[in-house]
């Protein structure tokens, strides 16, 4: 048997790729199981779970489960709601949190360390502990809209967006990244007469692609997977997101094929978003040491 040595490059590569493939399989197989199961009738799906056939498009495959999933629940509406809420929240969150981080890193003002510490301390508070107080607040919160004053935020998009815009993790990511940028850039810009907002917009943000991508992906996942909050603040189908919609498929007799079809459909936006930003995301992990 050949020993693994620096000279034996071929064998080392083989072992490396073998390990990588095995690790990749751990992540890919559940997705493969989901997609393949979505194509099979329930009886075959359940029978296949005990063998490798579960990962293969074999037997009686078709798109019936997808047709039935669309009949059982307003899938398009749920995906639209989730994409809308997630997209708006991510955009606003990036703007608000990066501005806050800019202020903490580059502006000199009394108490900024304390305020930053308080914001970071919120990272250790689980959302579940504040869900009920927050519910009580938003249920009585006024809102001035096109239809005049409303006296509750329940059953709206805004109640799913606004409480999630600012968060400690996103601020932390931006603060860490901004701290590593050369301070001379800001000093030079100030000497040139740039305003603080111009420095933020024209100097700092253009250099922040990796952290923007990282923060966007992490925020996207948090928002797209929202369950508890929309469950308690939305009582109308027209505002429900995908994760609450998943419950439509769990009846006394669970139609597993339809569940898998629905899961496949709602996974697509997440995959698409990640694929678009993956290069910047990986660059950010490499440069900032962020573990996603």
């Amino acid at each position: 048997m050949a020993a693994i040595s620096p000279d034996n490059r071929g064998l080392r590569l083989f072992v490396r790729y073998l390990v990588l493939v095995l690790v990749a399989l751990i992540f890919v197989l559940p997705l493969l199981f989901m997609v393949m199961s979505s194509l099979k009738p329930d009886q075959q799906l359940l029978a296949d779970t005990s063998s490798f056939r579960a990962f293969l498009p074999v037997g009686d495959v078709g798109l019936t489960n997808y047709v039935e999933a669309f009949e059982r629940a307003p899938v398009r509406l749920f995906v639209f709601n989730s994409v809308l809420v997630t997209g708006v929240t991510v955009a606003l969150s990036l703007a608000v949190c990066s501005l806050a981080a800019f202020s903490f890193v580059f502006l000199q003002w009394r108490g900024r360390e304390l305020v930053l510490s308080i914001i970071l301390a919120t990272l250790i508070v689980p959302f579940e502990t504040i869900a009920i107080p927050l519910l009580l607040i938003v249920s009585k919160l006024p809102w001035i809209g096109l239809d005049g004053i409303e006296w509750t935020w329940l059953n709206t998009y805004r109640v799913q967006i606004i409480p999630w815009i600012a968060d400690g993790l996103t601020v932390f990511l931006f603060v860490q990244y901004f701290k590593d940028l050369p301070g001379e850039l800001v000093e030079a810009s100030r000497v040139e007469g740039a305003s603080w907002f111009q420095i933020y917009w024209r100097v700092i943000l253009p250099l922040s692609g990796p952290v923007v991508a990282t923060a966007a992906i992490l925020k996207f996942l948090v928002m797209y997977n929202q369950y508890l909050w929309p469950l308690i603040v939305v009582q109308q189908e027209q505002y429900r997101p995908v994760m609450v919609g998943l419950q439509y498929f769990f009846q006394l007799n669970v139609a597993w094929g339809e569940v898998m079809a629905y899961l496949t459909l709602i996974t697509l936006p997440v995959l698409a978003f990640y694929l678009v930003l993956q290069r910047a995301f990986i660059a950010s992990i490499a440069s900032t040491g962020v573990k996603g």
Partner: protein, 418 residues
């Protein structure tokens, strides 16, 4: 203005006036995702809205799995609808919490209703159901013949010894992976609904049903301990698969012959009959203190904050008609609440394939503990049974469960029980 136009305007004004006079009554229902159930309910609502001019019921459907959480959150936010759909054993908690008010309906309409369909709390009717559910021991006629077993009846069910002998015979035959499937993978309300009857049949109870202020002696007394040891033996002796049972096996194991018997609900009966020609539905065994199954399913009630209880009561009275009970039964397979409605159904009419379930529900059903504390007690019971199935000591586990239940009752000042 010509005569035709004037006539049309008068007709429009009359129609619009009638429509505007109708007061909106909001209703929440747990059937989102169940097209058949939703269609039947929407039909009832349309009939009601068209049949009178005072009220318009507007339905918002929720997925069943998250329905209770949505209601509790809405109650906190002061956002409950008028008509609520409530699961029978949960109702006392919602009534005690002030979410619901008693019904004010014509009592003659519910004279013939199955006892499990009437939600009573503190001496008053808070909810009424259009159907009930039942559990039975699924078996094959051919299995009974093969194992030379007597066919039990409602009048003469299997005794505990006969039941265990049947399991032993099935195990000894070597023809089955397991003698009995209990559906152990579903650790939700299924555990108390399906397994409390075994505890009752041993003479025990989840909580003292006289006072509802303690579980001491009820769950961990002599009968409770006997039940706990019997329960443990089902898994120690290999009669039944444990908590790690594959959901796929649970769904297909009886049908493909891997299990000799299955303890299952009537909602699986039609699907099983389609696959198993000689399936029979047997009553629960009697371990000495009677044979029972659980009763109480989804019911209609009215929220405390409902500004129009007259409209809500009128709708519920309207929904109690036999034709609707029968429609729900035919649509979703559950047991209609009255004998007359049962006769209108395909499955529960006399001689029908599921008629036995109506009798089971009528004669064997016992309500789960009628107390606001049930929402906690049911979860404690579920955990205790899962722990025992996984090898925990029955006596210690039941003692710990009693402590937890009693602490909760004490923390809630007895839940209103004296």
């Amino acid at each position: 203005m010509n005569r035709l136009t004037a006539g049309a305007l008068v007709a429009y004004a009359a129609t619009a006036g009638a429509a505007m006079a109708q007061t909106e009554v909001t209703m929440w229902y747990h059937g989102a995702g169940n097209e058949v159930e939703s269609n039947i309910l929407n039909g009832i609502v349309e009939d009601f809205n068209a049949a009178q001019s005072d009220w318009t019921v507007v339905v918002e459907s929720f997925p069943q799995q998250s329905y209770n959480d949505s209601v509790v959150a809405a109650a906190l936010a002061g956002n409950l609808p008028c008509i609520l759909d409530v699961d029978g054993p949960i109702m006392p908690n919602w009534a005690w919490s002030g979410y619901m008010q008693p019904l004010n309906i014509d009592e003659s309409l519910i004279e013939d209703f199955l006892p499990g369909t009437l939600g009573m709390w503190d001496g008053e009717l808070y909810s009424v159901g259009l159907w009930d559910a039942a559990v039975a021991l699924y078996a094959r006629e051919s299995t009974l013949e093969e194992l030379d077993l007597r066919r039990p009846t409602l009048e003469e069910p299997w005794t505990g010894e006969e039941f265990m002998a049947a399991l032993e015979a099935a195990k000894a035959s070597g023809n089955y992976d397991y003698a009995l499937d209990l559906g152990m993978n579903d650790q939700g309300e299924w555990y108390p609904y399906a397994f409390l009857p075994f505890l009752w049949s041993h003479g025990g109870s989840l909580v003292d049903r006289e006072s509802y202020t303690t579980a001491e002696g009820a769950l961990n007394g002599e009968a409770g301990l006997e039940f706990g040891e019997w329960w443990a033996s089902l898994f120690e002796e290999g009669y039944a698969p444990g908590t790690s049972e594959d959901p796929a096996d649970q769904q297909t194991g009886f049908i493909d012959g891997s299990f000799a018997f299955q303890w299952n609900g009537n909602w699986r009966a039609v699907a099983t009959m389609e696959e198993v020609d000689d399936v029979i539905f047997l009553p629960a065994p009697d371990f000495g203190a009677g044979n029972y199954i659980g009763g109480g399913s989804w019911q209609f009630g009215i929220s405390e904050s409902c500004p129009t209880p007259e409209g809500a009561n009128a709708f519920i009275e309207h929904a109690l008609q036999d034709e609707y009970l029968a429609a729900f039964s035919d649509g979703i397979g559950l047991i209609p609440s009255t004998p007359s409605a049962a006769q209108m159904t395909e499955n529960y009419a006399e001689g029908g394939p599921l008629a036995v379930f109506f009798d089971l529900s009528d004669e064997q059903a016992q309500l789960r503990p009628v107390t606001p504390g049930y929402v906690v007690q049911s979860k404690v019971f579920t955990k205790a049974l899962a722990d025992i199935a996984n090898g925990a000591d029955p006596a210690d586990t039941l003692d710990a469960a009693v402590d937890e239940i009693d602490s909760d009752i004490e923390a809630n000042q007895g839940y209103g029980h004296e």
